[in-house]
């Protein structure tokens, strides 16, 4: 622990049929990749609700990967296109909030692409490592002066009450 390398925490939303299986394949083929991604299985990339991504950020994730079948190859015919549309809208919204574009990535990986998925994960980890921690969950905490200010008010009010009493 002497040299602290930043280890980003990445939540991956992977579709059951292609990308989750690609990760399975990466496993059976022992394709080593970064341990920073933690995978949540959904039936389809079309199930990925923008609020899942925001939830992950708000709980301390440094980045989020959404992965699905290749366009035109969706096991639910065309639902990954809806994922694609939402991804673009979400990424622009998050960008306006100050979340760098590299922190949310959309990856297409077929069930046969364990290698490609592993590479995409490694690449993403490196990019996010470069950006540093997102730390969104601390983003809205006021610093210690808030407590001080509240204490001041309490004190002032108590003093005022003593005067009138």
């Amino acid at each position: 622990m002497s040299e602290q390398v930043f280890e980003p925490k990445i939540v991956g939303f992977l579709c059951n049929w292609c990308s989750y299986r690609a990760a399975d394949l990466a496993g059976s083929a022992r394709i080593t990749h970064a341990p920073n991604i933690r995978i949540v299985r959904v039936m389809c990339s079309g199930r990925v609700d923008p609020s899942f991504v925001m939830k992950a950020f708000s709980l301390g994730a440094d980045a989020v990967m959404i992965a699905g079948c290749h366009p035109g190859e969706c096991h639910y015919i065309e639902q990954n296109y809806k994922a694609m549309r939402r991804f673009h809208m979400l990424r622009q919204t998050l960008k306006a909030m100050g979340v760098e574009e590299q922190r949310i990535q959309l990856v297409w990986a077929s069930a046969a692409e364990g290698q490609q998925l592993a590479e995409a994960i490694d690449k993403m980890v490196e990019e996010v490592r470069e950006l540093g921690p997102l730390g969104w969950s601390g983003n809205w905490e006021e610093n210690g002066e808030r407590i001080q200010a509240l204490e001041d008010i309490v004190k002032e009010h108590e003093e005022a009450m003593e005067v009138t009493a």
Partner: protein, 340 residues
């Protein structure tokens, strides 16, 4: 209403309850809307003593502080929490009230003042107190200070937070009443619920659990959108769903309660009634729905449609709900200097 007097948990059916109405970071519209219940205000007056309502009656914080905990039966708290003084008052009313209601959009989800969460104290003050902005004349560059030393001692002003919080991000809230402002008839309905003693589960939003579309008379079809349009670009057809005409109408994601007022005057819903029941993040719902029906499978074209049609995604999706959203605010630049 007069005969069946309120109980308000006092145990004594005859006794009058105590009602407080307080405002924090808000505009005063909520109070106007309360007064909009018209002569029914007399019924409210018959049921409750108004212990505090800075907008319409005199009242002293000290009197509230002196009360027993839980002595106030109902507190309608509007406005978000932007300063230490507002936070203090929120805590005070929580302690003194049996039932604390987040009243109106500001208290429930931050509303327009919550959009300040895209900035921080520093940038907000820069904008408000710098002579460079057109509406500001401040040649001496005077800024509000938390502490000012005068011969008699130190004077304190509340500190201004970097982030506006909703009421429930600050204190425990019993019920929610959405709307900017809540429509007067809905306020009266809520009061009737409170008077009936037949209270919903804690944490409930007192209102409908469907969306504005339910009340919108326009005809709707399956949706496909090639282009989002700004309101000034088109005079919409009065019969068809506004969204189908490319206008970003938020009615589909917004809780019913207004009776679809805006769409009925040919203007898209802007979402002031907040998310529907059980929804975690209003903007995510609206964003997801609109993105889903973009009529393109080409990533570049999709990007272009969004960039062109929705240049301000936060103002579009989080106009009223940024502070109450999962993300709560924009990324804070650097920590603000401790001096105000």
């Amino acid at each position: 209403m007069s005969e069946s007097a309120p109980t308000n948990g006092n145990g004594n059916g005859k006794a009058k309850g105590k009602l407080a109405i307080y405002w924090a970071a808000s505009c005063g519209g909520c109070e106007i809307s309360i007064l909009g219940i018209d002569t029914k205000i007399l019924d409210v007056a018959a049921a409750f003593d108004l212990v505090m309502c800075p907008c319409i009656a005199d009242g002293k914080v000290r009197d509230i502080e002196k009360m027993e905990d839980g002595e106030i039966d109902v507190c309608l708290f509007n406005g978000g929490i932007r300063t230490s003084e507002q936070e203090y008052m929120a805590r005070l009313f929580r302690q003194k009230s049996k039932c604390l209601i987040a009243f109106g959009s500001c208290a429930t989800e931050g509303c327009i003042p919550g959009l300040g969460n895209l900035h921080n104290r520093q940038s907000i003050f820069d904008n408000s107190y710098t002579s460079e902005t057109d509406s500001t004349e401040n040649p001496d560059n005077i800024r509000p200070q938390a502490v000012t030393e005068v011969p008699e001692g130190s004077l304190h002003l509340p500190i201004f937070y970097d982030t506006l919080k909703t009421l429930d991000q600050t204190v425990d809230v019993d019920y929610y009443l959405p709307g900017c402002p809540p429509e007067s008839p809905r306020i009266w309905e809520a009061i009737e619920v409170l008077l009936s003693g037949n209270l919903p589960d804690k944490g409930a939003t007192i209102g409908e659990n469907t969306t504005v579309c339910d009340y919108c008379p326009r005809t709707r079809h399956n949706k496909k959108i090639k282009e989002f349009k700004r309101t000034w670009e088109v005079i919409p057809d009065e019969e068809t769903c506004l969204l189908e005409q490319g206008l970003v109408c938020a009615g589909l994601a917004t809780r019913a309660g207004c009776g679809a007022l805006c769409p009925q005057v040919n203007s898209p819903c802007i979402g002031c009634y907040g998310p529907n029941e059980g929804v975690e993040d209003y903007g995510a719902r609206l964003l997801s729905a609109l993105a889903s029906v973009i009529d393109s499978e080409d990533p570049d074209e999709i990007d272009e449609i969004i960039r062109k049609g929705i240049p301000d995604p936060i103002g579009t999706f989080y106009r009223f709900s940024l502070a109450g959203s999962l993300m709560r605010r924009g990324k804070r630049p650097a920590p603000t200097a401790s001096s105000q």
